[in-house]
Amino acid sequence: MTLFYLFGAVAVIASLLVIAQRNPIYSVLLLIAAFGALSGLYVLLDAPFVAVIQIIVYAGAIMVLFLFVVMLLNAPHEETEHDEKVHPLRRPGPMRFGAALAVALVVELLWALTRDGGEPAAFEAPAVSSVRTIGHVLFTDYAFAFEVTSLLIIAAMVGAVVLAKRDSHSGGASAPPM
């Protein structure tokens, strides 16, 4: 229970700081910390496979991609001149709406989760944590979805290359075709 609170507090605080930072680099680094805490929570949930791919894929690959882009774009700071002067409650509509929506969402979900009087118990079902079981189910029941996933990755890769490619007639130093 202590570990749950520790990891949960780290995840929540780091996530809050992610959306409170002005500098995107700090946001990315704090999000990596939040993902580390989530990985700890997955270990507590007897899901070591998910915990490991959370670190390797999310923190190791996706966040590094973000970090690359932030540094590539020279980390422009958010335009703060009008944000700083305006009281948070008087900012333009979407911001107020978003903050109110988030508060409403939390209240609603907490209410829904605590309303039922049934006493919550610790997990009684046996844990399914072996990678062998997961791999077996993944390659039998979910084999088609797994194969479609590879198509998705190909499409995303080609799309990212096409989108990020410089126009050949505007920039002389375009990357050579791969």
Binding site: A47, Y58, A61, F66, V106, A145, A160, L163
Partner: protein, 100 residues
């Protein structure tokens, strides 16, 4: 021992933080990061439900969600790079050409 409800409440809080980030921030990269927070909140509830039901399906769905998140991050960041080349800005308010 933490119960299923504890995990779901934590997941709800993280999801709400992500929602707030999408609406409150004026930076495309931070908005994408907030979307990642929301995806991870959902992953946490999937794993918690799978643990509660004693089923491996929760962890497998997390695998697929992570794949989609990776694809989304790659394409989204490519779009961000393209937008930044056009306007030298990451503020979503400066991309309003399609606004009617």
């Amino acid at each position: 021992m933490p119960t299923l409800n504890d995990y779901l409440i934590l997941s709800a809080i993280l999801f709400a933080i992500g929602t707030a980030g999408v609406f409150v921030r004026r930076n495309l990269i931070t908005i994408l990061l907030s979307i990642e927070i929301m995806l991870n909140a959902v992953n946490l509830s999937f794993v918690a439900f799978g643990r509660s039901l004693g089923s491996p399906n929760g962890q497998i769905i997390v695998f697929f969600v992570m794949t989609v998140a990776a694809a989304e991050a790659a394409v989204g960041l490519a779009i961000v790079i393209g937008l930044f080349r056009h306007r030298e800005s990451l503020n979503p308010d400066s991309f309003t050409s399609l606004k009617w």
